[in-house]
Symmetry: D2
Subunit: 264 residues, 4 copies
């Protein structure tokens, strides 16, 4: 019994009827090669990998192919729409993906501009409606606007994925207040997607009550991606267990009768 | 091969000639009973437990005894001087402990007042010199003053243990700047002792380059101490691995040519 | 020459063709009475006060009337749509206000729910388009989503007013990253509206490059509102001047050759 | 009546029997020349300037002399011991200064090393005792260790001056917890000395309840030192007035019945 976590509870989460044990989803971009990508995904303990359908080679047998390394019997593929800027683009891309690989659980991201890679929520919501009508199970990358998060859920999103900070920034979770409000209001899973830079960032997200974390750059651009994948595996478990354990109260100091708390 | 960490490296740390794999030291105060304490210590993966010689029953066989639960064949005991306010007190207490249990590796803490439990560095340094002369291996609880940290090392401390925040506060690491300077300057292990409230706090300490973390209240006063012990086990590994992996650079956003970084 | 600021430059800002010296806009809610409100507005140095057309008595001569205290020859009235939840409501309310008081420069806010008072950006943008078509000059309360900020500007907003934190929370500016991106991209004035709790919060907003700050609760719910109004007057000037002055670089310590900066 | 602050109260502070209106003390190092230094000091509204006796030319009439620009009929000189590393050095330096200029109110700083410029508290306390015995009124630069702050006061310091961050770093106040504890315990004035980088940092210090702020680099190394001096003048007033006004309570959002506060 070397793994107390497992012994404590079968702590799983479920999205669109599929149940997972790992609360870490990793990406398939920015790695040196597919072999390194596969090693990192394996070290992270992830059960889901997200794949940019337009950017990753899924079809040309003359080039190295992602699925020869990151294998579908090991990982659930979550195709995403990186590179799509309209709902029509997104629907077309994911339909092709569904035909090619049978993937029905997808991640929608509709970005506004190549500089900030910030999501365009108006177009994202419109795209979501098209995809839902088309029968997809859609996890949605979004801003941390609690009102839009609710709109996405009401439009049929099977998971809400607010950014913690801009994609690729590594700045960590900037706004804990909005993230908490989103989690409080949601009836579907909430995942932090984008912004994690190091292990403690992932732990913070889980401590706030997220169901899972999605990251790519924090692992792929670490000096040692495999080692950082291990770090993230533990960080997500740590944050989850701390959330479930219920943290101690904060006090200004050991003596709880302090009059100062309000000033700090 | 379910534990990638172990595969990557035999990542150990050494204090006073003794080598440990776990980088988490836990306390033996504030638990419901010794049985819960033992279960939490075990769940945390700790190899060392710190024991307040004056407060924990080590000698009265008519009362429940700590070592019947937290056993010395499972854990290295690190006696501490909680409740001592002078060097003479500290030396007397630790001599008795050494005679009773043979413990030579000890933790010195000389506190100033019962309200803040802040260390008195002047008296701590004086006490350290007495203990070193008496042949003890002394790990020293201290403020996060880099100059005093260096003085302690020069006086023979075998580990420097700055607080992250007041004892029992759970406020997390308040001053990353001084902690980094202490770590940069030290040739002996540096541990964060006091102030950790939840898992991400422990990860932050390790990411800054600490060798280990010592905590008591964060586990003992969590709603579910056993579960929080598991969280802390993973948090310390996560922070350590992230430190070794080397985190990605922070950017304002994906486009690195931004002129804004300096303003945030 | 007791006021060096004035001597340094005629530092003004312009919205919809009107130029102001004060960069602080204050509210007219939550005060003990209109007399206290007027005294606070005066102490703050504000030139503009925002008025919830539906909540403040502007028309019933048998009750105390706001404009008998907060006089229009002293302050520019900025009517707002607090209490409106659709574009049609907003247009109707502001049309009545325009007929009654001749106010053409208005503040649009379309909130989502009474608990968080978070803006509904989809409905806000729709409302804005109706108001612009109707000839209003519209300053728009919004989330801190940079993409929506740009949409508002393109739809004709004469000022963008992102929240720093939820209305009435006093939590201070939560997300400096998105605020900086909004400021960088905007060609119209950007004001922090909502979230300021104390003086340093207002200074932070101005240091990031905002053109002005709007606040109500931070003054009205301070123990001494008049004194807090004075504090805010100085805070806004302080932040503005610091922004214009160009702050010193941050260093880990005096010696600039430190290798540590990236870790803190 | 352009200055409401003055009207509200004669808000002064007193150190060693001398009463001042301005709560900002500025330095006399790192400026382009003495003329710029004088202009900045004047713009800041400071009544006290601190002078490094060993570094500033106070005696050689063939070189530009500080007091020809920063005049003693405008400013109270506060000689400091920058460059002294022992109590004997400090006493010798300040005795010479007292003989030369009649200055009895002095600032003691005993630094540990040229890299971090962190104070050596052991030597500082020893030096203080020598200076007090010698009849000086001594304001003491110190770490933010609350126990040492109390020792300094008990040894006769007439003001306690903890650092907010390392000298010259501009990092802002790192540890609000220890600063609050120091202020709560002190019966003499507490000033933040070192670490301020921009206006909001100074406001934060005053909001915590400090009596005044001392700074040098933040003004001298701003792109426009005169303008930053104006900013700091307003920031210190803003923070002071906010402290006296008593800030609003922080809430997660407008609805105070939220169950979330403890998680953020």
């Amino acid at each position: 019994m070397t793994e107390p976590t497992a012994a404590l509870s079968p702590d799983t989460w479920t999205v669109a009827g599929r149940t997972f044990s790992s609360r870490l989803i990793v990406g398939t971009g920015k790695y040196k090669d597919y072999a390194q990508n596969a090693a990192a995904a394996r070290a992270s303990g992830a059960e889901i990998v997200t794949v940019a359908v337009r950017r990753v080679n899924l079809t040309d047998p003359n080039q190295p192919m992602l699925m020869d390394y990151v294998k579908q019997d090991e990982f659930t593929y979550l195709p995403n729409t990186a590179g799509c800027f309209t709902g029509e683009d997104a629907v077309r891309t994911l339909r092709l993906a569904r035909e090619a690989g049978g993937w029905n659980l997808v991640k929608l991201e509709v970005l506004s501009d190549p500089k900030t890679l910030y999501p365009d929520m108006e177009e994202t919501l419109r795209s979501l409606k098209l995809l839902v009508k088309d029968g997809f199970d859609v996890m949605v990358y979004c801003s941390d606007d609690p009102v839009y998060a609710k709109k996405l859920e009401e439009a049929g999103a099977c998971a809400i994925m607010p950014l913690g900070a801009p994609i690729g920034s590594g700045l960590g979770i900037q706004n804990r207040v909005t993230l908490r409000i989103i989690i409080e209001n949601a009836k579907v899973p909430v995942l932090v997607d984008a912004g994690v830079g190091t292990a403690s960032d992932a732990a913070v997200g889980m401590e706030l009550g997220c169901d899972a974390i999605l990251m790519n750059t924090a692992i792929a651009e670490a000096k040692d991606p495999i080692r950082m994948a291990v770090a993230m595996k533990h960080a997500v478990i740590a944050g989850r267990e701390a959330y479930l354990a219920g943290r101690m109260a904060k006090k200004l100091y050991a003596d709880p009768s302090s009059p100062l708390a309000g000033l700090i």
